[in-house]
Structures are given as structure tokens and as C-alpha cells.
């Protein structure tokens, strides 16, 4: 009898499973910030070269996502939020994810270097290394400050975008890096306050678990205070201007005010209200980052017409 129907093909990967390995939602943030970094730079880039550069920066980000899923497959199997990812669900093997991630990392760095300049390609390679090795393999499971330093990986894309146009690093690109870097902790910890994920079961030290929720609230507020001068100070660099300054002043005032409310709230109140404020604060943090980078883009567009800037 030739019936081999007992083989389970429902676990065979579809194209979408490989797309899921790239963490498309993280990629969208990478695309946006890298695009702003590229467009606000003083040197014009050919639109097609710019498009290709952003595409490969995003692909490099996706490659580090695949490498992260390969290494973290054991944690992903334990946590509710990540159980449905392609590797824990059994649709993609760990070896496939590793090969896929490494191949994409190589392709994206080489193509970025060929499309723009060698420095950008090397910078992208460093970013992938930072996310996959420094954050995923080293820091994530060893310190509750994991996301603070790991946030740097998410903050590099606008610097790479800037490097595509200018071939280097400057004060402006470091300022864009600093905004995302300092924004990551309050953004992520506000999520950690209401997403009661079983990080502790998975062996990942999360600040809410290791130092408690009170300490997390204090840290969120502290970071909003450190972030504000950096975000507002960027207005006085060559990429800033009055539109950006006004946006930064309003957004930072609201961010600090929200951080203060988070600090003052007790866990009982938060639980009674099913973490309504924490959730709102988390979504506002997304708007905060989007608003700053959009304002930078508006300044660049205005400069194009002889307006904008100081």
C-alpha cells in the first residue's frame, strides 16, 4: 500500500513563516528611522539608491531578527506570547532559521556596501552583530538592564541611513541614536508593567521581576528626564528647527508628565484599572518617537524649499 498520508505536512513552512522570522513589525520601525536618517542628511542621495539602501538596512534588521529567533527558540517555547513563532510552532527548524539569518545578514551588508558605501555596510554588519551576539546571546539572559544596552541595536538604523548619505558619523546622527536609545527603556518597561509575561519561567531577568514594579516605575520616570534634554537639544543641531523644537517641547512635557503619573501610581490602583494608564503610556511612547522623527522630516522638507532650520 502506498498511502503515506500519515506524514504530517501541516508543519511544513509556508513563505509567510520565513517572513515572520524577519520580525516585520520591528522592520517597519527600522525602515522609518533609517529613512529619516537618510533624508535629513545634507548630501542628496539618488532616490533609487536610497530605496535600495533602506531595503537592505531593513533586511539586515530582519536577519538579526531571524538569528534572535534561532538562539531564543528555547525561551520562545516557554512564553505564551512567542509560542506561535515559526520555530516553536515547528514549521521552521532551528538550523533553517540560522542559515536564513546568516545568509540574509551577508547579502544585506554586501548589497548595502555596493549600493552606497563601505562604511554603511560595515556599520550594518556591526548592528547585526550587536543585536544577535551582544544583546541576544550575552545580555538578554544575564542582566535586567538587557533592554537598555540592547536598545542600542534598535537605535543604529538612523545612523546607518545618515552614513549612506554622508559616508560617516556626525553629531546629528549621534543625536538621533541617543533619542531612540534613551526612549527604549521607558517604552519597553511600560509594556513590561502590563504584559505579565512569564519571563521569569524562561530565565530572562526582567526589571519588573528582579527589582520589582516599584523600581521599574522609578526607572521609567528617570529615563524620561534624561531623554528630554537630548530630544529637545537636537533642535539646535543642523537637522533641527522651530517645527522640531515645538514638537519636542510638547511631546517631552507630555512624556515626563506621564512618567510622573506612572511613578505615583500604586500597583493596587493600576490593577484595579487593569493597567489602563500604563497601556496608554506605552502607545503614547510610540507616538512620541514617531512625532520626533516626523518633525525632523518636516524640517528637511522645509529646508528643501528654503524654509526650516534656524
Amino acid at each position: 500500500m502506498s498511502d503515506i498520508g500519515y506524514l504530517d505536512h501541516s508543519k511544513e513552512a509556508q513563505f509567510g513563516d520565513f517572513v515572520a522570522l524577519l520580525k516585520p513589525r520591528v522592520m517597519s520601525l527600522v525602515v522609518f528611522t533609517a529613512m529619516v536618517g537618510l533624508l535629513v542628511a545634507p548630501n542628496p542621495v539618488h532616490p533609487f539608491v536610497g530605496f535600495v539602501a533602506i531595503l537592505f538596512i531593513a533586511l539586515g534588521g530582519g536577519a538579526s531578527g531571524a538569528l534572535n529567533m534561532w538562539y531564543d527558540a528555547d525561551i520562545d517555547r516557554v512564553m505564551r506570547r512567542t509560542k506561535g513563532r515559526p520555530i516553536p510552532a515547528g514549521r521552521v527548524t532551528e538550523g533553517e532559521a540560522l542559515g536564513f539569518g546568516l545568509a540574509l545578514a551577508g547579502i544585506s551588508c554586501v548589497m548595502l556596501a555596493l549600493a552606497s558605501n563601505l562604511f554603511s555596510g560595515l556599520f550594518l554588519a556591526f548592528t547585526i552583530f550587536f543585536y544577535a551576539v551582544v544583546y541576544t546571546m550575552w545580555l538578554k539572559r544575564s542582566t535586567p538592564q538587557n533592554i537598555v544596552i540592547g536598545g542600542a541595536a534598535g537605535a543604529f538604523p538612523p545612523m546607518i541611513g545618515w552614513a549612506v548619505a554622508t559616508g560617516g558619523i556626525s553629531l546629528e546622527s549621534v543625536a538621533m541614536f541617543a533619542i531612540i536609545f534613551l526612549w527604549t527603556p521607558p517604552h519597553f518597561w511600560s509594556l513590561a508593567l502590563f504584559m505579565k509575561d512569564d519571563y521569569s519561567n524562561a530565565g530572562v531577568p526582567m526589571l519588573t521581576v528582579t527589582h520589582g514594579r516599584r523600581a521599574t516605575r522609578k526607572q521609567i520616570f528617570a529615563y524620561t528626564l534624561i531623554l528630554a534634554p537630548v530630544a529637545i537639544g537636537t533642535a539646535f543641531t543642523s537637522i533641527g528647527g522651530p517645527v522640531y523644537l515645538a514638537t519636542a517641547l510638547v511631546l517631552n512635557a507630555l512624556f515626563i508628565k506621564g512618567g510622573w503619573t506612572i511613578l505615583r501610581r500604586t500597583e493596587e490602583t493600576a490593577q484595579e484599572e487593569t493597567y489602563r494608564f500604563e497601556k496608554r503610556y506605552f502607545y503614547f511612547s510610540l507616538l512620541y518617537l514617531f512625532g520626533h522623527f516626523l518633525a525632523l522630516l518636516v524640517e528637511a522638507a522645509l529646508r528643501h524649499f528654503g524654509l526650516g532650520g534656524w
Binding site: 498511502d3 520565513f18 533609487f48 531595503l55
Partner: protein, 80 residues
């Protein structure tokens, strides 16, 4: 379920093959587009082809001072 043309396994493989095909065609289009842009952008395209000539020498050197070497037997004034 028996393996027929419309079995689930075929659908999944078709989705993978189709996706990869589209990605590869897209990649070819990208490289072609990049080539067109780089050529139109006037990137340096003239390289050394074993025949020294003025136009392939570094621009910083005083080109008049360097006598152009002509291979023995080559027609006068010919660079190729």
C-alpha cells in the same frame, strides 16, 4: 490525506516556491536598477586594460609631463 496536486503540502510548497521566485526576480530588478543609476551617475568606469593611456592616469599628476607609451607596432595615436 493522500498526496494529490491540491494537497496541503503542495499548497505550502507552492507558496514557498512562488515567494522565492518573486524575491529573486525582485533582486535581479534591483541590481539592474542600481547598475543603471550608477552608470548614469557617472561613476568611474574606465579602468586599466593593460594599455597605459592618459585618460586612465591619476588626475593629480601633471599629465603633459608624462610621455604616452605606445606599444611597439601600434598605430600612431591609437589607444586601443
Amino acid at each position: 490525506m493522500a498526496i494529490t496536486r491540491d494537497s496541503d503540502m503542495h499548497k505550502r510548497r507552492f507558496s514557498r516556491n512562488m515567494g522565492l521566485g518573486v524575491v529573486l526576480i525582485g533582486f535581479v530588478a534591483l541590481v539592474f536598477g542600481l547598475t543603471v543609476v550608477k552608470v548614469q551617475g557617472g561613476s568611474k568606469m574606465e579602468a586599466f586594460d593593460h594599455q597605459p593611456r592618459v585618460s586612465a592616469l591619476p588626475a593629480s599628476e601633471p599629465v603633459e609631463a608624462r610621455p604616452q607609451k605606445v606599444a611597439p607596432g601600434a598605430p600612431v595615436g591609437g589607444t586601443q
